[in-house]
Amino acid sequence: MFERGIQRFAGRVAALSKRDLVVEANYVEFDSGGSVVEVTNVRTVEVNRAKSAVNNEWDRLKPL
């Protein structure tokens, strides 16, 4: 539902802004102490005015 929501959200915001848009959805894992252990890119949605492209890969990101 979150992933579908991101898609819908990207569509709505793109319609609002009338420009190219990138929506990045991440999942942050905290340890018991509250430090960031890992950040996972759940989904990245790119909305171009000409065409739409969706990256469904679960990419691993390094914590900043």
Binding site: M1, G5, I6, F9, A25, F30, S35, V42, P63, L64
Partner: protein, 222 residues
Amino acid sequence: MTIRVGFATRCTAQRRLLVTYTIARSDNGVHICSVETAANGIRCQWRVPRVGRGWCGRRCGVAVRGAIAEYAEIEGVILPFLTLDALQIDHSGTVLIVCADPRMIAGAHPPEPSRVQQLVTRVRNEPGRPYGLSPHVIAVACPPRVLGEPSQLRRFVQQNAPVLAGASRVIVEAHNGCVALGHFYKASLENSRGRAAPRPTSSFSDICLSAESSALPGAWPR
């Protein structure tokens, strides 16, 4: 109730800053706030489910154009790097939608930057983008829950339209250990389990599950 907004930009004129506030309390004691500024007739706002609402007015020197806040202090809690742009075009083009969980906003260890601070630093230093401009931060109770439910999504977009209209990039973050997220997935898990197989009636586990499920929604103000 005190809401103080610290502006990074130099004060250029004495104008009245109106702040509407909304405070809700979540399960883990986080104060979630909705702040609305009105400067020169242009407003931007954050909204979350509310339990109280009021007006607080104070004299504040505000540079109307490019008024970027360094922090907002709500009931003694400093929320760093919130961008209270008077004009929507002045934010960096990046909008962060994060959970109001303290690990996201404030961080667990004071020496370590919180996740929001990490993201703000990343956005401010991103190559190819205007250097030093802050993202606009929207903190809500569980972004996956808000964006995953069509009715809440519609309301969220409407309420944050002035900010979202200027966005070219949006970063949404969920995290582990979120009570709202746990409730959200527990409900969908329960639904899918109910569809998959007939459930025995009145078993102990069902009673426990239904008791927990019915207790959770009340904890999150709508």
